[in-house]
Symmetry: C2
Subunit: 315 residues, 2 copies
């Protein structure tokens, strides 16, 4: 038997090795608790939350599920210290950190009895995360939505490469939207999968319906890894993306791009539903989406498809 | 049972669903015949050959193997008509076409009893290839070496997307270097795999030893899809790549880039071994390469690893 999901399900004390990605303006307590109640691991995306909002989401999530859930913390977030304290005070069992150095907070979180997972896009950073004491890591391929690495290594190459370099469990992310892709990721060496894009098309995602519908309508070639001079981010191509692209084609400076990006772009697009002027973060897996479903149905559908495929080999 | 390789092995009359990619300056008769003799499908890459050279390689390949082999024909090649005639005259059993419209030559080749496979990087072009009468297609992900599509869709997303849209067999390409990746590609829906990068690290590849060694030394982030204003091509990062990158950052025109590329860059790099001034085409799978091996050993190693993994599910 060459697939092992036990490391992750035991580490998090969950039933199914399906983890919902922390997504700004989309993954609050409703989505996180629904995924956890379905036997996966739900994650509150704190990157779009002020400290008091995060505290409220954690409390509501605890009220909505007695299963484990996690909070995703982008380490470059300005309110990071308050966020970490709120997470510790409220005894959140698991934290996923991203976009920063795992050395800074892993020790503090682990000392508080919290499991720590760091998101990486290369073997080099995977080794750093392991050295920092992380319990597991997410290896995120080029096709993933939102912020990503500069190396552009795809899930197909990244998962085996990372798996060869670390001993802690590896969660595959990027391009996974169904049970077939989940099984492929597990074959490549993953111990679990993290799924973002598919959960945007969930009833519980707190993003705007305009954004959900735009994601459903998107297909191959409709997303692009952009803003590589700042932090690379995979965006849905829209009017705002075209402004960025034109500026980049004119060799715009970091300052120019920062000004063009402005503040509140992601909120405008994903939360307020302004599809023209907003920033819309989504992965290539939007190609596979067909409809908006309850999160529990998504988890069960992926899990069933995965098991039917896996069991078909035993016959 | 959810994996089917019979469509391709029966179509080509080969033993193993492992196809070596046609690669300019690397895949002549020696490599093609070695792969075919190992039970896979070897391909002569005609894109770097004058007509008389192609004729010679076909004859030598026939003398070196009595197994089926193929010729890869980039449809934008200037000597295309002569190449097609040589292929027909010499009764090459299978042709892989790429970089052009499959309508133009598929009918002519099929009328001569030749199996035709077209290389695509999107579902849209997959459907066009099927409509043109192709017997099968190669779906090539973003991570693949050499020329590629503009949509940047990765193998993980592309294979299921294409599989959903066509009924002809699909050969997965891009990021596949070992039996584990082969099994993942088959799980995603592929009926066979096409492997390029791994065969660069073969004894029989006709490229320069400097290039082979540079490919062995390369890892994550060392390749980049470049020259998107011309025809996108995945290159190993070297001095020449940096010139291209700097020009692109300065918003260089198509004409400027064409001039910078010049003539004979690929030959200089891959055949003559000029690692600084030459163009070096390779895929992200270079990350997985460890050593230079005989092509037959590569085929058998991948095939054995694939079968051991597959059989581990039956226990």
């Amino acid at each position: 038997m060459s697939i092992s999901s036990n490391e992750i399900t035991q580490l998090f004390n969950i039933e199914k090795p399906i983890i919902q990605a922390g997504m700004i303006w989309a993954s609050g307590w409703r989505l996180a608790s629904a995924v956890s109640n379905a036997g996966g691991l739900g994650i509150i995306g704190s990157g779009s939350m002020y400290p008091e909002i995060l505290r409220e989401h954690i409390k509501k999530c605890k009220a909505a599920t007695d299963k484990p859930f996690a909070v995703n913390v982008p380490l470059l977030y300005p309110n990071i210290k308050e966020h970490i304290q709120i997470i510790i005070d409220n005894k959140v069992p698991i934290v996923f950190t991203s976009a920063g150095n795992p050395k800074t907070y892993t020790g503090i979180l682990k000392a508080a009895g919290i499991k720590v997972v760091h998101v990486v896009s290369s073997s080099k950073f995977a080794q750093k995360a392991e050295a920092a004491g992380c319990d597991a890591l997410v290896a995120e391929g080029f096709e993933a939505g939102g912020h990503n690495g500069r190396e552009e290594t795809t899930t197909f190459v990244l998962i085996p490469a990372v798996k060869e370099k670390v001993n802690i469990p590896v969660i595959a992310a990027g391009g996974i939207a169904n049970g077939r892709q989940m099984l492929a990721a597990m074959i490549l060496g993953a111990n679990a999968v993290q799924i973002g894009t598919r959960f945007i098309a969930s009833e519980e995602a707190s993003c705007h319906i305009n954004f959900k519908n735009a994601v459903l309508a998107a297909g191959e070639g409709d997303t692009k890894l952009s803003l590589k001079k700042l932090t690379p981010v995979r965006l849905l191509k829209n009017e705002f993306y075209m402004h960025i692209k034109n500026a980049e084609n004119q060799n715009a400076s970091v300052e120019d791009l920062t000004t063009l990006l402005g503040r509140g772009r992601a909120k405008k697009g994903m939360f307020e539903g302004d599809l023209n002027r907003g920033e819309l973060e989504i992965g290539q897996a939007c190609t596979h989406l067909k409809t908006i479903q309850p999160a529990m149905e998504i988890v069960n559908e992926i899990w069933n498809e995965y098991n039917v495929l896996l069991n078909s080999f035993h016959k």
